[in-house]
């Protein structure tokens, strides 16, 4: 029992941090620009493929730097020449624009790298088990992933809360005209924010690529869960996204370990017999079976009972 609790906690934290790594860029863009960027997972995928291509030629570590910069530049171009033109037509247009972008990026990736998975490897320097816990090995690469996530969280939080840049960025969202009057170039601020957000997604891609499977449908597989994190965490809150990532990682991991169904809980009582007829479809479905769907249940509950999210500080 202790073993399961321990290992599930560790697995949950590791997975949660991976999620945060992916969601951090999304939440930065969302909280500062108010744009729910559907294409975020696509930037993440671009990061993974760029990282793969660069690491094949010059190694993993240069890739970890170059790929996010490249994707960041692409993000800035998207903001400057796409999103900014669309912005004046309102949020729906923005949503649809980024939604369309996901398909374009997916097609481009398929054209360049094909539909098969690419052989993106963990760098040799990190390809060893870091420690062993109850006979389960934990690869050094996962610990590295954890460290990067925490570092990114800390740096982002510092920038937003403690620097002038963060101040200008936050002000530009709520009072763009006033910030413009004060001599700041609001357009450029948004462009930079979007670039940074895309770059963060790419960092996640470069790191998650070898850990998961790098292939042309990886964006579609991860996109939805990122929105859950941003909404559950709360609009405009980086800490919220951090907490939500951990929460979802832990919920999913612990749920997998629970092999209990309605039938087990209610046993063989008279009432159970009646209920089993009514709920025959879900009667013997275990919690483990629905584990990956639980985050979406959480999303629905949060939207109903606490629309601003766990730590959100704005209503919409």
């Amino acid at each position: 029992m202790l073993e399961i609790v321990f290992i599930s906690t560790l697995n949950g934290v590791l997975y949660g941090m991976l999620l945060f790594l992916m969601a951090s860029g999304l939440t930065v863009i969302f909280s500062m620009m108010g744009v729910l960027n559907f294409a975020h997972a696509s930037f993440y995928m671009l990061g993974a493929f760029f990282g793969f291509e660069i690491s094949r030629h010059v190694g993993f570590w240069p890739g970890l730097v170059i790929a996010p910069v490249l994707v960041g530049l692409i993000g800035m171009a998207v903001e400057r020449y796409g999103l900014r033109q669309v912005h004046r037509h309102g949020h729906v247009a923005e949503l649809l624009f980024t939604f369309g972008l996901t398909f374009i990026i997916q097609e481009v990736v398929q054209m360049v790298w094909g539909k098969l998975a690419v052989d993106y490897k963990v760098p040799p320097a990190l390809d060893f088990p870091a420690f062993t816990l109850f006979a389960t090995e934990y690869p050094a690469f996962k610990i590295f992933m954890l460290a990067i996530s925490i570092a990114i969280f800390a740096v982002l939080l510092l920038i937003v809360k403690r620097t002038r840049v963060g101040l200008v960025v936050q002000a530009a969202l709520s009072h763009p005209d006033m910030v413009g009057m004060l001599g700041h170039n609001v357009g450029r601020v948004f462009m930079l924010v979007f670039g940074v957000g895309a770059g963060l997604a790419a960092v996640a891609g470069v790191i998650a690529g070898p850990a998961l499977v790098t292939q042309a449908n990886m964006a579609a597989a991860l996109g939805p869960i990122l929105f859950v994190i941003v909404v559950v965490g709360g609009l405009g809150s980086l800490s919220g996204a951090f907490v939500a990532s951990l929460l979802i990682g832990l919920i999913q991991t612990f749920a997998v370990a629970v092999n209990v169904s309605l039938a087990d809980i209610l046993g063989d009582t008279q009432m159970a017999e009646t209920l089993s007829v009514w709920f025959s479809d879900i009667w013997s479905v275990t919690v483990a079976q629905i584990a990956p769907i639980l985050p979406y249940l959480l999303l629905v509950l949060i939207l109903i009972f606490r629309p601003r999210g766990l730590m959100g500080n704005r209503e919409s």
Binding site: K115, T136, A216, A221, Q252, V256
Partner: protein, 415 residues
């Protein structure tokens, strides 16, 4: 204005001439309805490459009944509903041979649609060539005269794989992990019954179902498998669900054997290599490219010169196409009404090993020699690696065709 009239006339001439040449060039149209975008795109694309290769080869030899074979792709996005729309489109374009395979739920819908379509449209009959869907109901209670299954169904594969496992005395505890839909459940049930049946010393220590293609982090499942004390895992997972599972096992250093249906599918050999599970992952198929049969090896080399990224994964497509072409030649007609009877009971030399298989007339299930193979570093006389990993499939067991025959409950309605 004159310029406009001139170009209009030119356009008309061009249009007329292409229409004429299309009429003159009577082709044998074969519709390939499989996923060419989305999650199943990789598998669909490999099938498409192989069909194109087969068509080119037969066209170079003069075609079938003197007609050139034309493969027309229809992207069904792995969706039953979209498939039906695409098949209708194919039929409207003159297709009467439909090849489909990926996804048992899709195959069930397609088979059903084709059967109904044929009863309502006499003279326009369509035949459904199923190259991959292996839910046993397709050749049992839901069997159809117009459906032919070229891959061995779940019952055949489970029977062969569990016999192989029972023969290995090192296997004591087996964990079953499968995808949470009809196919995964039928595999888990059949495997549990066979493994822990009479006279078996094997214990099934876990029976897990995972939502189809929704899990990103498989480490909790690996923790459960380890906690169960299993020495082997039996899984029919495919695609991401198998790749991520195996990578998570490699990460956690879980050192057990894996018995699978689909470890050869696109991307999975790469994941196995990355997980470092040498000679620990087994699959059951109708054969691998490293079999010692020279005519096939020559063909695979020629194929790989054209499509260098992945070796042949669907030898059964070669069987299926070869048999359909033979049936058409024999019947002297490409009308399904005429050539389908020729397919029933047909014997065929398998593409992959040159051994004889046969299409059982009772349920339209093809029976062929089956092979269990493991992935590892290439040995002598093993020329083909998988996905540039340096590892390739080597045969661990051969199941002769007579040992693969299972009973059927099919009561076929014949026209």
């Amino acid at each position: 204005m004159r310029k406009f009239v001139g170009s209009g006339a030119l356009a008309l001439v061009v249009l007329a001439s292409t229409a004429l040449s299309a009429m003159a060039q009577d082709t044998l149209k074969i519709g390939y309805v499989d996923p060419l975008s989305g999650g199943g795109a990789a598998a669909g694309q490999i099938g498409m490459n192989q069909l194109n290769y087969i068509a080119e080869a037969v066209n170079a030899k003069g075609g079938v009944l003197g007609k050139q074979v034309e493969i027309i792709p229809y992207d069904n996005k792995l969706d039953p509903q979209v498939s039906l729309v695409q098949i209708q489109k194919a039929v409207d374009q003159g297709v009467r041979i439909v090849i489909q395979g990926n996804g048992s739920s899709v195959a069930a819908a397609v088979s059903d649609f084709v059967t109904k379509f044929n009863s309502r449209n006499p003279g326009k009959e369509v035949v459904h060539i199923n190259h991959a869907a292996i839910d046993p109901s397709l050749t049992n209670d839901k069997c159809s005269y117009w459906h032919f299954a070229f891959d061995a169904n779940v019952n055949i594969k489970v029977e062969a794989m569990t016999n192989f496992m029972k023969a290995n005395e090192a296997i004591k505890k087996v964990y079953l992990i499968n995808q949470d839909y009809s196919f995964g459940h039928s595999v888990a049930e059949a495997a549990a019954a066979k493994l822990s049946g009479e006279g078996s010393s094997i214990e099934v220590v876990g029976k897990e179902f995972v939502p189809l293609q929704k899990v990103t982090d498989f480490s909790p499942y690996i923790a459960k498998i380890r906690a169960s004390g299993a020495d082997s895992v039996f899984t029919a997972n495919w695609g991401n669900d198998l790749q991520l599972l195996i990578k998570a096992a490699g990460d956690a250093g879980l050192d057990i054997n894996w018995y699978t249906f689909y470890a050869g599918l696109a991307g999975t050999p790469t994941a196995i290599k990355q997980a470092g599970l040498e000679d620990k992952v087994f699959q059951i198929t109708e054969g691998v490219n490293n079999l010692d049969y020279m005519p096939m090896q020559e063909e695979v080399k020629a194929y790989m010169a054209k499509y260098p990224d992945a070796p042949i994964y669907y030898p059964r497509l070669f069987n299926a196409m070869g048999m359909v072409f033979d049936a058409i030649e024999e019947a002297g007609s490409d009308d399904p009404v005429k050539f389908v009877p020729k397919l029933e009971g047909m014997k065929y030399m398998n593409f992959i090993d040159g051994k004889e298989g046969f299409m059982r007339a009772d349920d339209h299930q093809y029976f062929q020699t089956m092979y269990i193979s493991g992935l590892g570093a290439l040995g002598p006389n093993q020329p083909f690696e998988e996905e540039n990993t340096g590892w390739g499939w080597k045969v661990a067991a051969t199941i002769p065709v007579d040992d693969t025959i299972v009973s059927t409950t099919c009561e076929m309605e014949r026209p």
